[in-house]
Amino acid sequence: MLTANKGSTFKVFKQLVKRDIRVASRQRSDLLNPLIFLIIVVTLFPLGVGPGPDILGRIAPGVIWVSALLSSMLGLERLFRDDFRDGALEQMLLLPVAVEISVLAKILVHWLLTALPVLIITPLLALLMNLPLQAWGTLWLTLFLGTPVLSAAGAIGVALTVSLNKGGALLSLLLLPLLIPLLIFATAAVEAAVAGVSPAGPLALIGAFMVLCITLAPFAVKAGLRVSVN
């Protein structure tokens, strides 16, 4: 009689992360495009609104955050799209670990590949928009805490729309309204820092969003994927 070995949950998680990073490293344009889009959109504002440092500094938090939201929508679909097309998604649902664990691995890789570069170029964006220096740290923190929300909530949207042919536009329509609270608190935190007030309140709320999204999104994603692979 044949018997199968037991693979540990952590090992499967590690393998998924490793494979996804390897796949992504061979299609770099997919990763670079959203980042370049973000930089271009932010550069358009000084050209469109005029280079007056006062106006730019005032609208900087909003501009940077809205641009970050839009650019994250560009790269979101690749979270599950290719896997859905080639059948790797089906195989992921058939792994001998809880689907939520595999989903968490996908979300982690997506965050590493899309949000980390944004965090690295944040100072450049702040400089372009003439954001007062005392708010740079807060801007970076809002992005650090907020980008996992984008990846996790985005995964729910992608899971629901991946089987549709024209899911891309629908995805943005579904997700952007849900992300309004994040935008409000993120810009409130940066504005507080600009005004010299403590941004701790809004930052704590973004942190709470993040924890909520990371813990609950995998369950919603699992349900969404089950519908999509049917």
Binding site: A4, N5, G7, R19, Q27, G87, L94
Partner: protein, 209 residues
């Protein structure tokens, strides 16, 4: 022989159409079942229900007497499912694809699986990303998993698609090995399985209007 997989009173409705109802199937160790029927009769849906990817409208599937939804970990450690989308990542090489599937299924590889690649005729192509290979060769990467796995139950959707004569003969040999080792196979195929290596049991689905 022991019952590996048992389906009870399965019913499936896709869209407005009933595909099948009251379907019974017991797959014993050492048996190979071929699901036959015209296009649209629900062969793939049945396989996906058996694999737990699709929920039936009624009925249940049990693996070694345990409902598959209750003990999914044990079930999926013992199942190898290859659908008509093969699950081969186009950006990765054959070796990388196989190493991934071996690792997640808990199969220890001490060296890259060159021997298996040689068996499925992919020698010399191991360093090329799968997107540079032909459809038949990509199919062979997916089917190479049959040599890597220790799972007793195989569910295969059209495994012979895109394979040449030699590849088909190779699969028959592997099937025979697996069956004599106490494994079981459920598959769909449009061609009749003509082989003297084993006896095929057939389950016929009719197209219902």
């Amino acid at each position: 022989m022991a019952v590996l997989l048992e389906a009870n009173e399965l019913m499936s409705i896709r869209g407005e159409r009933m595909l099948f109802s009251d379907l019974q199937l017991s797959v014993h160790a050492g048996e190979i079942w071929q699901i036959v029927g015209p296009n649209g009769a629900g062969k793939s849906s049945l396989l996906r229900i058996l694999a737990g990817l699709l929920t039936p409208q009624a009925g249940s599937v049990a693996f070694q007497q345990n409902p598959i939804a209750e003990d999914r970990e044990t079930f999926y450690q013992n199942l190898l499912f290859i659908g008509h989308k093969a699950g081969v990542k186009a950006e990765l090489t054959a070796i990388e694809n196989l190493e991934f599937y071996a690792a997640v299924q808990g199969v220890e590889l001490h060296e890259p699986p060159y021997e298996i690649l040689a068996k499925v005729g992919l020698v010399g192509l191991e360093d090329i990303p799968a997107q540079g290979l032909s459809a038949g060769q990509q199919r062979r990467i997916a089917l190479a998993r049959l040599w890597l796995t220790q799972a007793p139950l195989w569910i295969l959707d059209e495994p012979f698609t895109a394979l040449d004569v030699e590849g088909i003969a190779l699969l028959h040999t592997r099937f025979a090995e697996h069956l004599s080792a106490g494994g079981a196979i459920v598959l769909t195929s449009h061609q009749e399985l003509i082989t003297e290596l084993y006896q095929v049991k057939a389950l016929t689905l009719r197209y219902q209007h």
